[in-house]
């Protein structure tokens, strides 16, 4: 899958958040978008997935050369896009397992329930999660770490072509970051065509997941691009120099 964002302008509640953003992610690439709070990173992720409150005023989002602007959120997911939420929504009563089974079936997977269960058990073990939590309501009562791990579990089960991880490291302790990173790397190794877009404030997770490209996003635009050395620069100098520009 090739994801291409062309001169994207996005408004949220009549306020322009993204102001002409360009980005291209090819198959098998790992990209990172870093930036200060309020720079529009999460809005970008929501725009790609078609959040109903996010309005694209101009520009386009293309998957394999075709615009997805008119597609519903579930149709975008079926193309192979996946969003790991920064703050996963809690849904009372809907069992995590029921939700995941519905999602798996929606993707056209016709594997047996037995295989589905086995896949979940294996991933639970890999993510060092307690088995009981998946019987609980979707994200309800999950700790911050459990929520993030539950999102990675969904990614591992649904096997998207392009995963957008919105702050996969926030709320995780050092050990949990390592576990999450290992599982993300393992997922990428499972199919070299899988690509990744990580949105983060911090560089810690990037010591485990090596990006091919780094983008700095400030005030709705990409203001700098580079490779790993850019992460080191940000670590040393912070975002101040970009905010002053």
């Amino acid at each position: 899958m090739i994801l291409e964002i062309k001169d994207l302008h996005v408004s949220l509640e009549d306020k322009e958040i993204i102001k002409g953003l360009n980005l291209k992610i090819n198959e098998g690439e790992v990209h990172v978008i870093m930036g200060p709070n309020g720079s529009g990173k999460s809005t970008l992720a929501k725009s790609i997935m078609g959040h109903p409150h996010v309005h694209i005023t101009s520009g386009d989002i293309l998957v394999d050369g075709k615009s997805i602007r008119e597609l519903k959120t579930d149709e975008r997911a079926k193309l192979g896009l996946f969003l790991q939420f920064q703050n996963p929504v809690e849904v009372e009563g809907v069992g995590f397992i029921n939700f995941l089974h519905a999602a798996k079936q929606s993707m056209g997977d016709e594997s047996s329930t037995k295989d589905f269960m086995k896949g979940i058990k294996d991933n639970i073990s890999n993510l060092k999660m307690g088995e009981n939590f998946i019987g609980r309501s979707l994200n309800q009562g999950f700790s911050g770490g459990e929520k993030k791990k539950a999102e990675i579990l969904q990614m591992a089960v649904l096997k998207p072509k392009m995963s957008i991880l919105d702050e996969p490291d926030s709320g995780l302790d050092i050990d949990a970051i390592k576990v999450v990173s290992e599982n993300v790397n393992k997922f990428l190794e499972g199919d070299k065509a899988r690509s990744l877009l990580i949105i983060t404030h911090y560089s810690r997770i990037l010591s485990f997941i090596k990006p091919d490209f780094v983008h700095v996003m400030v005030n709705g635009k990409v203001v700098a691009e580079g490779k790993e050395e850019l992460i080191e620069k940000l670590e040393r100098e912070g975002y101040d120099s970009y905010l002053k520009e």
């Binding site: 997935m49 959040h51 109903p52 409150h53 519903k72 959120t73 579930d74 975008r76 997911a77 079926k78 996946f82 969003l83 939420f85 996963p88 929504v89 849904v91 009372e92 009563g93 809907v94 069992g95 995590f96 397992i97 029921n98 939700f99 089974h101 519905a102 999602a103 079936q105 929606s106 993707m107 047996s112 329930t113 037995k114 269960m117 058990k121 088995e131 009981n132 939590f133 998946i134 019987g135 609980r136 309501s137 979707l138 969904q154 649904l158």
Partner: protein
């Protein structure tokens, strides 16, 4: 059979005052009237169709006439000429009960002797003409009863269904009563219940309302003996222009008694529900517990829930709470679930099933859960009610609160490979 307009002025006025406005064309069918449906064929189709899969044997089938009497030991049917027993209901001075009583042609008597266990299934069909039934339950000490009542009617016919329960339990008696209302969209549904409990007895009363054009319930449940408990569970799923007027009292009268009411309404289109839940703990019912929870979810902009929880506590040493909350579907939850590939239609189904999950745990048997969920899901998909849909849960579905206890996935009542 009386016509509505021929009722004594007092009765008809009271009826008008407290009922959600019943359309004029339906009023004639409350007291009498009906259609010309081949009722026996309708019942045959039910029994040989969707109901066949669940393998439930009905001890009694009541329509415009008694269609089937089974051989269950505990259940008997009294014909109109044996109406003397009906007076018990009539004497309670409740005008609404008196109304059904005046028009009742059937009294179902269920007697469970001390120390015995009984199970009874009743099918009520109001396709052809009004069906008004009084169910009198007498349970001896240390007895148990599981009663299932299914109320259906053929699409197209216009009629009413009145269903009254009077439950008397001895000491240590345990009863679960499940009433599923799935009458058609031209039916008026009237329900009434009251009870008396022995020491340390337990009553669970589950009601599902999916059918009926206008449904009105007036229930009074008392935990009136020491250590007795009553647990009332109301599930309402409305669509179209359905109207529900559900009023239930739960009263603690016995020491160390428990009384609870959980009402949940999910509404589509322009349907409307009044949930009136009243809890009362009387003086002397010390160390009692009571709660009233009302929850509503609005699936469409035109739907409306009026939740009216109320509580009156006249004793100090008790635990009591009441609450009410209604909200539209959370757009963020819909986006979250759709972002994982689930269609909006399926998301609604997940949300509705999830909303009722807690209520489903109150059904003792998995068959009851399956029938209740099938009625809900069928209506969600087709908005048709009255007849019986195919019974069965297509998807795997886990009662979340039951799962994860011990073995992984323990709690699935439907685990299919």
């Amino acid at each position: 059979m009386r016509q509505y307009d021929s009722l004594p002025q007092e009765t008809s006025q009271i009826y008008k005052k407290h009922f959600i406005a019943v359309p004029f064309e339906l009023k004639n069918y409350i007291g009498g009237g009906g259609g010309a449906v081949d009722e026996k064929q309708f019942v045959r189709n039910l029994l040989e169709g969707s109901l066949k899969e669940i393998n439930i044997k009905f001890d009694l089938i009541i329509g415009s006439e008694t269609l089937q009497k089974g051989d269950s030991g505990c259940i008997t049917l009294q014909e109109p000429d044996q109406i003397g027993a009906n007076d018990r209901m009539h004497q309670n001075d409740d005008k609404f009960a008196a109304f059904i009583n005046a028009n009742s042609r059937h009294t179902v008597s269920i007697k469970v002797p001390s120390g015995e266990k009984a199970r009874a299934n009743v099918l009520l069909v109001n396709s052809n003409s009004p069906v008004n039934v009084q169910v009198m339950i007498d349970m001896g000490d240390n007895s148990s009863l599981e009663l299932f009542e299914l109320c259906v009617s053929n699409a197209g016919s216009t009629s009413s269904l009145g269903l009254m329960h009077e439950i008397r339990q001895g000491r240590d008696a345990n009863a679960e009563i499940n009433v599923l209302h799935n009458e058609n969209d031209k039916s008026v549904v009237l329900a009434y219940a009251k009870n008396a409990m022995g020491q340390n007895s337990h009553l669970r009363f589950n009601t599902l309302y999916t059918g009926g054009s206008h449904s009105r319930a007036r229930n009074t449940f008392k935990a009136d003996s020491k250590d007795s408990s009553v647990d009332v569970n109301e599930i309402i799923f409305g669509s179209g222009e359905q109207k529900f007027d559900i009023s239930t009292y739960v009263i603690n009268e016995g020491r160390e008694s428990n009384a609870s009411l959980e009402s949940r309404a999910a509404l589509m289109d322009t349907s409307f529900c009044m949930m009136k839940g009243f809890a009362k703990i009387v003086k002397g019912a010390s160390k009692s517990r009571s709660y009233v929870h009302e929850r509503g979810i609005l699936l469409d902009k035109g739907a409306k829930v009026d939740g009216l929880p109320d509580m009156s506590v006249d004793e100090n040493d008790v635990k009591a709470t009441h609450s009410s909350a209604t909200a539209p579907v959370d757009a963020e939850a819909v986006f979250y679930m759709m972002s994982k590939g689930i269609t909006e239609r399926w998301v609604r189904r997940l949300l509705v099933n999830g909303f009722f999950t807690e209520s489903m745990t109150k059904f003792g048997s998995s068959v009851m859960k399956e029938i209740a969920m099938s009625l809900i899901n069928s209506k969600l998909e087709t908005k048709v009610y009255g007849d019986m849909p195919a019974i069965g849960i297509k998807d795997m579905w886990v009662i979340a609160s039951d799962a994860g206890k011990g073995d992984l996935f323990k709690g699935h009542y439907k685990y299919r490979e």
